[in-house]
């Protein structure tokens, strides 16, 4: 490994930030990691746009047009793109809405739901346009690696990043990863 730090960008699209929380579960091991990496765009840095990076970690699937835009920015800038967690890999829990029409979902939440005051479906131009279905990342861009889990554990992240930092291919032992 050279002295130059590896740059990592992270984002949460249609996810719950659980994967990011799990990443932080590395605890004191983050200190060692930070000797080798620097963060580009990430909720941890608040940098707004992804610049050229070595590794992009993307949590969450795609539920709206902004998600797609951010994902494409990551793909264009990251040498290695990793789909992190169930939602990025197959849509996850947000994709449960795929079994219903989008309009049915909006009506249930904003018009007919219990305890709704002033029922109206939000329609502000500032709001990203919803996709008809929640999609996994691989429906839109090429994904280099998949890190399953809901969320993947801190150990899983380290297992993925360790070899990548050394320019090697990660190997996932079959007995450690889970989908839940």
């Amino acid at each position: 490994m050279t002295d130059a730090k590896i740059s990592i960008a992270t984002t949460s699209l249609a996810g719950c930030f659980g994967c990011h929380m799990s990443f932080l579960d590395m605890d004191e091991r983050l200190v060692t990691l930070l000797e080798h990496v620097e963060f580009n765009r990430s909720p941890l840095t608040d940098i707004k746009h992804c610049g050229p990076c070595d590794i992009g970690l993307v949590e969450g699937g795609l539920c709206n047009a902004e998600n797609v835009q951010v994902l494409r920015e990551f793909r264009a800038n990251c040498k290695i793109l990793v789909a992190v967690g169930a939602c990025a890999i197959n849509g996850g829990v947000p994709a449960m809405r795929n079994y219903f029409d989008l309009h049915e979902c909006l009506e249930e939440v904003y018009l007919n739901g219990i305890g709704v005051n002033n029922p109206q479906i939000p329609n502000d131009v500032e709001l990203p346009l919803l996709l008809d279905k929640v999609r996994p990342l691989s429906d839109v861009v090429r994904v280099d690696y998949y890190l399953p889990g809901c969320p993947p554990s801190a150990d899983d992240f380290l297992q993925l990043l360790g070899p990548l930092l050394e320019g090697k291919q990660p190997i996932f032992p079959r007995n450690t990863f889970h989908y839940d």
Binding site: A86, I89, N90, A95, Y99, V143, Y146, P148, Y179, D180
Partner: protein, 246 residues
């Protein structure tokens, strides 16, 4: 004159069998694991899931439906076959609702455990997200067809062990679906009971017993502790305890 038992070879290992046994029967008896989802020792094999595909010579056959014949040289645990099995598993995942974090069966699910066993990191194919009819009409048993993998185990368990005829598979290809044998077609009007094998044998979360959700926390479930290989080598139809009482 004493005759020696005939044998087959699986990945080079010599395995004795009794005439009439399938390759799967002989392998399981010798504690040799051939991956399978739709096979259950004691029920008539159907060869639905194709995961137990093995190579004999230049031919692929399903181990659960092919008779063992003396001298067979069988390849089972090979990179090529396991890659094909992973592809089959990926197709089963994308054809139904197999979003593990939202399913009560997670950790106890054989489809999920098979995917772990085969090292499946992604679904590879585009998701179908099918919308199939859910049947919550029974007081204690839920049927969610969107998770059904059409393994047919509930159909066979009901007929062969429970002595009933609650389930069948109707339709073809992507329209194939589980139907219930009752006047209304609803589970609540059928004669299924919670201690029937058919209510418990579902390898996925299509048939679930109600009001037991998350009794066992995620992380402490069957396939959180064991691989599907370990479980599959020791499976047998459980003895029925007592009379029906629901």
């Amino acid at each position: 004159m004493q005759k020696t038992n005939p044998t087959i070879h699986v990945d080079g290992q010599e395995i004795p069998f009794k005439v009439g046994q399938t390759i799967m029967d002989a392998a399981l008896a010798a504690k040799v694991y051939i991956p399978h989802l739709c096979h259950y020792p004691g029920l008539t094999p159907h060869g639905n899931c194709k995961l137990c595909m093995v190579d004999i010579g230049n031919k692929n056959v399903t181990a659960c439906t092919t008779a063992a014949v003396a001298g067979q040289q069988i390849r089972n645990n090979t990179e090529t076959l396991n890659a094909a099995r992973k592809t089959v598993t990926q197709m089963l995942f994308i054809e139904g609702d197999h979003i593990c974090p939202s399913c009560e069966k997670t950790g106890n699910c054989k489809l999920q455990a098979m995917a772990y066993y085969l090292g499946m990191l992604d679904n590879h194919f585009p998701q179908f997200y099918p919308r199939r009819e859910m049947d919550a009409s029974h007081a204690t048993i839920l049927l969610d067809r969107s998770r059904c993998i059409l393994c047919d185990l509930c159909v066979r368990a009901s007929r062969e062990v429970d002595g009933k005829n609650v389930f069948a598979i109707a339709g073809r290809s992507t329209n194939a679906h589980l139907i219930v044998n009752s006047p209304s077609g609803k589970l609540g009007d059928s004669n299924i009971q919670t201690d029937d094998l058919a209510a418990h044998i579902c390898p996925v979360g299509a048939i679930l017993i109600k009001e037991q959700g998350y009794d066992v926390p995620i992380g402490q479930r069957i396939y959180d502790q064991q691989t599907i290989r370990d479980v599959g080598l020791n499976e047998a139809i459980p003895e029925k305890q007592g009379n029906h009482h629901d």
